[in-house]
Structure formats: C-alpha cells, structure tokens
Amino acid sequence: MASLLKQDDKSKDLEPEVGSKAAISEEPKKVRAANKDQLSPFASVKLSVFLMCLMALTILIGAGVPQESQGGQEKVFEVFGNQIAEWLVRLGISDIYHSPWFLALTATLTLNMIVVSFQRVFPKLRLLKNTLPFFRGQDILKLPVHHCLTVAKADEQTALIADLSVRLTKMGYKVKAEGTKLMGQYGLVGRLAPSVTHVGLLTLLAGITITSWTGFNGFQPVLLDEKLNFTDSQHSKLWIGSLPKWQVRVDGTRRENYATGQAKQWFSNLSVVDDKGKVLHQGEISVNNPLTYENVDIYQSSWGLAKVAVSFNGHVRQLDLRPMGEKYACFLPLDQDTVLIMSLASEGKSLRVFAKRREWQAPKLISEIQAGKSIKLGDVDVVFEKAIPITGLQYKRDPGLPVTYLAFGIIMIGVLLAAVPHRHVWVALEENKLYLGGTSRKAKVGFERSIDNLVEKLKASFTLQEQERVDQGEEANV
C-alpha cells in the first residue's frame, strides 16, 4: 500500500486496483506493465487518439471540399477550377467518404474500438464488484486531499465518527464503517460510463451493419397521378434484402404558404397500390411527417412546379418549368430575337406572360392569365389550362433502425454518466487524531472544496484542531 501511495495523486493507481488488497500490495506499475504486455497492439489508447485525430482531419477536409455525392462533380470544378479539381477528383478528396483511405481508416478505428472495448474497457467492470479497503491514518495523509485534526475531547470520538458517517451519506457517499474507520464511495455509476458508451458504439456498428445489408433507400421526383416505384433504389453490394412489389401513387400534392408567399409546408396525398391497382393504404405526408407501409418510409423531401399546361388555338402543350428563385418560368423562342416567357409564382396564381427582345434591357409584361382563362396574342388564342406540380419523395427501409436507436440511447446514457465524478473518502480515528482524506479523478477542485467544507462543519460541531495541512499557500487570485 505504501508503494501505491508514494505518488502525489494516487487516484490513477487507486481506481483500477482499489478494493483488491492483494492487488494493492503488489507494485501497481509492474502489474500494469504485465497487463500491458497481454494487450493487443490495437488496444492502444494512443492509437485511438491518433486515429480519432486522423478521422477528424479527414472529415474536416471532406466538410471543406464539396463532395461529389452531394453536389456532383460539376460543383467541385465550379469551386476549384479545372486544374485543382482534377487533382481533387484523382486523389479521391472530392468523394472522400467513399475513398479507400476513409474506408481503411474507419475499419482501423472500428477494430481499435472493438479491441479496446474487450481488452480495456469491459474488464474494468469486474472492479465494480470489489470492496474498498479501509485506510490507516498515515495512508490517508498521503492522499491528494487530506486533513488531520486533533480531537480535544475524548468523549466526542464516537459521536464524531457517527456524525461524519451521516454527513458523508447526506453528501451522496455510500459509507462503510469498521470500528473507527470509514470508507465512502461516491458516483460509482460514473465508472460505468466508458463501458456503457463503448457498448453503445458497438451496438451502433451492429445497427449500421444490419441497415447496410438489408435496407435500401432512394429519391424520386413524381408528377401528379404518377407512381413511385423502388427499382432505382440504392443499397450496398452485400445486400440480402428485397424490394417491395407495390408502388406509391401521388393523388394530390400542394404547397401551403405564409401570408408573405413564403413556403410554409408541402403536402402530398399518397396511395399505396398493388400491381393490379388495388389501393392498400392511403395517407397524407408533409415535411417531417412521413408515411410508413410495410416498414418502408416515404418522406416529403422537396416540392416544385414541373410543367405548365397551355393550349395554343386548342392544342394543349405541357411546357417544362424551370425554378427561378421563388418563381418558375418557361421560355418559348418565337424567332431569333424574341422569346416568350411564362412565369408562375405558385399554384393558384395567374400565369404572367412576358416578351423579351434582344434590344430590350428587361422583359416586358404582356398579359396575365388566370387558370382556365384565355388571352389573345395576335392570332393565337392562349389558354392557361393548369400548373402541374412535382413532389420529391424520399424513401427508405431501414431494418437496423431499432438497433441504431437503441445504440443512440445507450451512447447518450454513457456520455451523461461520464459527467458523474467518482470519488473516494477515507476516515480513520486513531488515538486522538481524526484523519480524513480522499481522491477524485474528475472535478478535483470541487472535491477538495467539498472536503474542506465538511471539515469546517465538523469544526463547528466538535472540538477539533487542524494538525497538518499541505499546500497552505497564500490565497490564489482566481
């Protein structure tokens, strides 16, 4: 024990070996060195930190450089120009999350996490069962936080120990007594934090693996009255899942606006239909409110106007609309110098018809047509039939989701537990001296203050005199 308490801060030594008198009696450094030899090189915390830094750096680069998977390769060329973009593409930086480097790094970090979990983190759970030893006065004096007080009145000794036990219990310590010695432990649950967090991370890996092998996802813009099918869905190479036979028909889709005209919400009325057209399920979706059928979720992802149906002298044409900021427009070249522009703000609004000639600085408004109405443009009778909306539907089946959600919950519990400081307090009353000390690995200053407060309260209740105190320096200006 003496060798254990040689260092200034014993908390590091105490935590792993505390409670095991046999272990404490041995030289901890030798024990640790022997244990270290048994560990795999992948169980190195140094390696963990190094890999985390590398991963952070890689993701940082990925966050800074536009990724092909999000904005397409064109975006990379647009931002960096041809010369640099070519290098970025060639080096895989423009698609860094699918690069061999990133995959190798993820695999190594995963392996490191698994090995660390099983060789370092989980074995420490056994220590929770161990009972802590009681310390002698001289041992307590070697703890990082300690007090030695002289008990002036011998008849107060029993009451003092009983009072201390009560006070420590009130402070949240689990107190054990042996004669005139006390041992208290606080925040044992905090020691579970690494194990719980690592269990969560391993569960997350399991969830992601299940999703990768059995799930699918995709995005499809669907016009009104048309159907969403799953033939173009994406899934991993090791996929063992299956695609639904049914399809999803868009029965209606609309945009709800604020009074200012800004989009408030997008809605789509969907029908799940089988191959014979029989309706199996119906529902309305909006952003943040998906439809679920047979574990496939359909999400309202985007919304827009795709076409405008206009008849020219009775011939109906569907003209493709292009988004132009908050509005949509289509362009009809009439001759080499003139373009007819039709602009639509949203469904239910009138179609504004502009003309633009080469020599004009800006297009000129010719007319506005309400839905179902017509205007005369020279000899041509133009009727605004209707606007045709398009709804962007995202879909996915994720069988690993319950496991992933469970993992999220476990990780959150783990990191919350990490905030709980694990503390030990020892008390020994020998002859007329009260020894009180302890260790805390986290929030050391807070712990020191709590012990100092406890001593002050004891001094107020009993006839005690401070005997010895290390580091009684001048008051720090903090």
């Binding site: 952003v287 995202q394 994720d398 905030a419 200053v445 903090v478």
Partner: protein, 334 residues
Amino acid sequence: MSDFQLYLTNTAGLSSVASFWVFVASNGTKKFQGLALKIANGVMLVGFIALTVAIITRGVEAQRFPLANLYESLLWFAWATMGGFLYLCRSYGIQQLGWLASLLAATMFLYGSWLPQSQHDISPLVPALVSYWRQIHVPPLIVSYAMFFLAGLSGLLNLWQAGRLRSLAFCVGTIIAACSAIGLGTFSKVDTVWLQLLFVASSVLGPVAAFRSLGVQDAAIEQNKAAKKAAEMYDDVGYRCVAIGFPLLTIGIITGGLWANHAWGSYWSWDPKESMALVTWLSYAAYIHLRIQRDLSAEKLSIVSVIGLLLTLLTYLGFNSLGFGGLHSYGKFK
C-alpha cells in the same frame, strides 16, 4: 420585434459590456476587489435574467420556439455563456474567467446586433424547420458550444497562471485571427478563399507554435504556489466545461440524426455542418481520452481545449460565414 423585447436584449448586451469593464477594473484595486467582483457578478446576473426574459418574450411573440436563425442562436449562445459562467463562479468561486466570459457574451451581442434587420425580425419558418425536433436538437448544441468556449477560455487562464506566456500569446493570436476571419466573412465582401486560408493557417500554426513554446515559462510564476493552485483550478474548470459540453454535443448530434431520419429518412448525410459537429465531437473525445488515459499535462490539455474552441467556432459560425454550403444554411443571410 417589440420594444419590450428590444429593451431586454439591449439591457443584457449592456450588462455584459458593463460586467466586462468591472471585472477588468477589479484587478486594479486590491482594497475594493471583492466588492468590484460582486458588482460585476451582479451585473452579469441582471443581464442573464434580462436575456432569459427576452428569449421567452421572443418565443411568445413569434408563437414558436425562439431558435430558428443566426440572430436567435446568438442570443442563446450569449445566454448559455452567461449562465455557464454564473454556474462555474458559484461552484468554484472563480472570478477571473468573468471578464473573458462577459467579453465573449458582449462580442456575440455585438455580432448579432450587426446582422441585417431581417435577422432581428421574427420571420416564419421554412418547411424543414416546422418540427418539434428543432427544440430538442438545437439548444443542446448551442449550450455545448458555449461550454466549449468557456473551456477554451479556462485553458487560456491556465496558461496564464502556469506562466506559459508565449504559448498563451500564440493561442490568443490564433483566436483573434480566427474571429477576424469569421467577422470579415460575415460583414465584408472579402473573398472567402482568403478568409478560409486565414482561419485554417492560423488554427494550424498557432497551436503548433503554442505547443513548441510550452518549455518557456515565466520564472517568477514558476515559484508561485498560489498561481500553481489557480492554474490547477482553471484546468479543473476547463475539464468541467468539457464534461458538461460533451454529453450535450453528443445529444445534439444524435437528436439531429433522429430528426433527419424522421424528416428525410437518413440520419447521416455528410452535410458540411454535421461533419464539422462530428469533427468537434472527435476532438473532444480525443481530449477526454488524453486526459483520462494519457495523463497529459494541464498546459498541453489547455492548448487542446483552445483547438477545440477553434473547431467549435468553425462549426458554429465558420461554415456559414466562410462560404461553405450544406443543409444547415438557415444561419446564412448573404
């Protein structure tokens, strides 16, 4: 925005400025230092209460949870910074962090006040933000950012008390350069490529220089037991801030994933901002592992916490102001 809300917000802003000056002035007198510190704390408390009421009032006026754009998030950030300091002050009795915390809050108020009027006005939500997940996902993130900032500032004070003045100078210089890049990116038309370069170069070179300068220590401070004790205190305070911020960041990232999955069917899409949040998470995970498993010195950990502060700054304000895109562009106004 109503006059009442404006009045409360201005009161909070002025309180942060006033408390900063009182905290600074408290160092000029030993006789009245205790009184000055009490006044500074009191002023900060007034500001905190005013800001709390201002945020609530804004929510009532907007008839929604008042955290939907950059301006509102800055109010939350300042609120968390002030509240975080008051909590730390109560727990540890620290005072010198006060002037840095109030300076940080005042800077955020100033930054927010310079934003265009459209940001100050209560505006309707875009469809993606119309969700109860917004109030679950965003507040933990903003509070975690504030705690990481306080951890970084505690790191600076640790370097100061430990006599590592050259390292401190490099860290402070780096933070000023990074903040300048953010400020210029937000309010000027300087090419964002130069600003990105300024941010990245200073964030890499500053901490490296700070690490290399750790060997240089002020001889007078080296022997000062009180300073050593204070340095230990700031080290402990920094870790406490990380211990609070890290779970909150984890909760923020996870609830963001849950929201994304609920709204778009994918809990992770490598969006620049969510990637940056992951980078920040990894950096603090590394900090915690270094602290618990590697027993790194307090000074080295202080520099790590300053690196964390820079990453947090990049995640919170940098990605919008330095010209990176992504799904989380609600904070953008240019």
